[in-house]
């Protein structure tokens, strides 16, 4: 299908993009990868009058680690995350997440910033960023603002972006020794959204008990869910198979899935338990080295 008519603006710089966004306000949408926005426009579920293309804005797609944070430009393509050495070697949860977003063709254009800003409950990166305790950096007419990830997803398709703001960077606290993460996604077929998916990031103490646990689930309600009870149960404990199973049970209890063509609510809850256990097992295994 063909989108409704719109005005196209190509932003040459971030200030220009912000200016255009301020000019056109609610009638404008930012175009990055376009892999969520354009399909919506083709079905006319979204009919923005103005499109602001930020793909030519320089400096928004770098992936670098310094000063205690892994910094990911909002325009970093999923395929770039897959290829990044630092991400593959030390941020496996992130690399595994990028690897299961849609399919390889979509990943050549889809951006991690867009995946978060679109705030579709079925998107994969939100749960991962919860598990990492990431910080979202947005830029607006008044400059930069940092939003802790726990306050970023207000509702389905509703991120905590004020009018005139653009998500510009994602910061993940640098992982230390004895850390490991994993993303486990259960889908009907490759390229689909999750029936259930879980992100786990674990840091162990020297004695092998859990120092920090980040556990979050995808597509089980209108926002990604931090499995707080699971995290609390793991903290300070030996991550035995029993402890992992118990944490997975708690994560499943925190899920409130809707039955739909991907499964009944009960089935999704059961699968949430399974994927959480698997993600935790692999994260712990990596943390143990």
């Amino acid at each position: 299908m063909i989108p409704g008519a719109f005005q196209y603006h190509l932003a040459g710089s971030l200030p220009e993009a912000l200016y255009l966004l301020e000019q056109h306000g609610e009638d404008a949408k930012i175009l990055a990868g376009g892999q969520s926005l354009i399909p919506l426009m083709r079905f006319r579920l979204a009919q923005p009058e103005h499109i602001i293309d930020i793909n030519r804005v320089a400096g928004l797609s770098d992936i670098t680690e310094f000063d205690g944070w892994l910094r990911i430009g909002a325009l970093a393509r999923e395929s770039a995350l897959e290829r990044s050495t630092v991400v593959r070697e030390r941020y496996q949860l992130l690399s595994e997440t990028a690897n299961v977003v849609a399919d390889p063709l979509v990943r050549n254009l889809a951006t991690v910033g867009g995946n978060l800003a679109h705030a579709d409950p079925a998107n994969d990166h939100p749960a991962t960023m919860l598990a990492y305790r990431a910080v979202i950096v947005v830029t607006g007419p008044n400059g930069e603002r940092e939003i802790p990830i726990d306050g970023f997803f207000l509702d389905a398709f509703m991120p905590a972006l004020e009018p005139g703001e653009i998500l510009t960077e994602i910061r993940i606290p640098s992982v230390g020794p004895r850390s490991g993460g994993a993303y486990e996604k259960f889908e009907r077929k490759v390229g689909d959204y999750a029936i259930a998916a879980a992100a786990a990031q674990i840091t162990l103490n020297e004695d092998g008990t859990v120092a920090e646990a980040g556990v979050a689930t995808t597509n089980v309600t209108f926002v990604p869910v931090r499995a707080t009870a699971a995290e609390d149960a793991l903290q300070g404990s030996e991550p035995t198979e029993e402890a992992i199973g118990h944490a997975a049970d708690l994560a499943a209890e925190a899920a409130e899935p809707n039955g739909d063509l991907r499964g009944s609510a009960d089935y999704k809850r059961a699968m949430t338990r399974t994927v959480t256990a698997r993600a935790l097992r692999r994260a712990v295994g990596r943390a143990r080295g």
């Binding site: 299908m1 354009i38 793909n55 390889p104 063709l105 050549n108 254009l109």
Partner: protein, 150 residues
């Protein structure tokens, strides 16, 4: 996609699904394989687009086209342009992909006819062809013994 088909008259790029799922519309944008149904033509202003029509050069089929012909990689042919464009990009980056790597690379291209087996063989055939051609252009230098050959 509509621009390519209707304004440029290049109908080798196919419209398959409307939902960014099937990949029948796959082209190269500055060398990267993308789904042309999910890119506005204006985004590519000044850039290089390659469609399936661009594979054949001077009357000579591209190795991927040879592969799909030799290994019967198509039945109805609807997914084929997209499959080939994805495959060409894969082989440019990874000249010796494993079967798993091929399957992963084409996982954004759906085929309703073949069950994918011959598509994979076609891509493997093309890989061999491209690698052989490369060796013919740049033959291995004759080995020189460490002691100077005396």
């Amino acid at each position: 996609m509509h621009f390519i088909r209707e304004h440029l008259g290049l109908t080798g790029t196919h419209i398959g699904c409307d939902t960014t799922s099937c990949g029948a519309c796959t082209i190269h944008w500055n060398g990267r394989p993308v789904k042309s149904c999910t890119v506005f033509a204006v985004q590519a202003d000044g850039d290089e687009l390659t469609t399936v029509e661009g594979l054949e050069q001077g009357g000579k089929l591209h190795a991927i086209q040879e592969g799909f012909w030799a290994e019967h990689g198509l039945q109805c042919g609807y997914c084929t342009p997209g499959m080939m464009m994805t495959a060409v990009a894969l082989l440019a980056e990874n000249p010796n992909p494993s079967e798993l790597e091929i399957r992963q690379a084409i996982s954004g291209n759906l085929c309703r006819c073949t069950g994918y087996t011959n598509i994979i063989r076609s891509i493997q055939h093309a890989a061999t062809g491209l690698n052989q051609a490369r060796e013919e252009i740049t033959p291995e230098p004759a080995a020189v013994p460490a002691d100077g050959g005396e």
